[in-house]
Amino acid sequence: MKPASFKYACPTSVQEAVGLLQHFGDDAKVLAGGQSLVPMMNGRLAQPDVLIDINQIAELRVLEVNGGLRIGAGVRQRTALESPDVQRVVPVIAEALRHVGHVGIRARGTVGGSIAHADPAAELPTIMLALDATMTVTGAGGQRTVPAEEFFRGVFTTAVEYDELLTGVHVAVPGPASRSAFVEVSRRRGDFALVGAAVSLELIDGAARRVRIALSGVADRPVLAHRAQEFLEGRDPHDPVVREEAGRLAAADLDPASDIHAPGSYRKKVSAVLVKRALSNAVNGE
């Protein structure tokens, strides 16, 4: 359980990091908080030739509210969780962050690291999908933005090219009619979720609008429950019958894989329950 040898670079700017990525190409791996990459390196499941440590890049640690919430990729999960800006502007992100590992993991783990790692069961990709967040990706040619729906491509796979760096995530400031919630089921506190559900909607005259429901742990990436979203549009989510049907529709199209933690059939069942629960929390917790 010791990592294989590697070369180590510690850039202090995004430009420098991108230069290194271009130079080393696929041989390099970006080291953010290291809470997923280093376990894989210790077990030699990952043996990168070069590590590009982005922990000394100050410009990645910016968290600001300026026409939206912008979280730099290098912001620690614990910093984001305890940020008054996050708690005031988009508290559901803090709700999701509470489920990320444990305090010792969140003290090092970064918001961008979790998103770029793209574990299908992870909380941050799921909440960002539900919030229709936009990722900022920087390469030699400059910055581009990628909506969450196009960002997650599969297990541990994102739209970030080998010579690009995820530099931040942007979430629109929710209006007063916005409601949201995040719930999950895991074997133990701090474990990856068996299933997680994130809900975001607007409540206008008792009717749900702009509904987004994202699920984790049920596919190779976080997925939107399209049929449940369409069903809820214009309906009253305070009504338990409506929530029941939304949960049923959300689970209906899923075909989750089985593993040692839970069979796919269980994950499917739990998906329906969690969608109901997230909807209930979103509209009854107001």
């Binding site: 180590y8 420098e16 290194l20 290291g34 210790n42 590590l51 590992g101 003290a107 090092r108």
Partner: protein
């Protein structure tokens, strides 16, 4: 070290000297990039109080405080800790006098085999530094990343409560009439 190009930082390939502050004192040792902080502490600096359990970030035994934050030293490379202020279990006592958290673990049977204890007491210290009056759910949540296979956690939670109370100058276990003795 080698330089990729003129405007890029040098890339470290071989052993370099790592300078850190440990338990208030400057220390240095040699490390190649792949050396984990936990192994650096144990092998290069002889600080074997930091225990390695799982070596992949699950058990919490190797927790140290870096700039006051509890961190798994098996998930960080020594080279990343350059310039950091690190607290290990060796730094908790005051001239042989146990730290209040250590005293509480002793008094309330917060350990049996002791393997997880360095990580437990450091995490507990981080909790109390951050929140001197934690509720039981807060204690259990904060310590949820530290695994103990002996105690069943009851003694550990009691220890944290005791340490918190000691920090406030009261003893939760003692009858009301003796609470002023401390």
């Amino acid at each position: 070290m080698s330089t990729v190009s003129e405007n890029l930082q040098p890339v470290v390939e071989d052993e370099i000297t790592i300078e850190v502050t440990i338990n208030g004192s400057p220390r240095s040792g040699r490390a190649e990039p792949r050396l984990l902080l936990a192994d650096f502490l144990r092998q290069q600096l002889g600080l074997t109080g930091t225990h390695l359990g799982c070596e992949h970030g699950v058990c919490g035994a190797c927790t140290v405080l870096i700039d006051g934050e509890p961190v798994r030293s098996c998930l960080m490379f020594a080279i990343q800790a350059r310039g950091a202020d690190i607290t290990t279990v060796e730094g908790l006592d005051d001239d042989g006098e146990l730290h209040p958290v250590q005293q509480a673990f002793h008094a309330k049977h917060g350990l049996q085999c002791g393997f997880c204890t360095p990580g437990m007491v450091l995490t507990c210290k981080a909790l109390l530094d951050h929140n001197p009056t934690p509720s039981e759910p807060e204690i259990r949540d904060f310590l949820s990343g530290n695994i103990c296979r002996c105690t069943g956690y009851v003694g550990i939670v009691e220890s944290v409560k005791e340490a918190a109370a000691a920090g406030r100058g009261v003893s939760p276990a003692a009858p009301a009439s003796t609470t002023t003795e401390r």
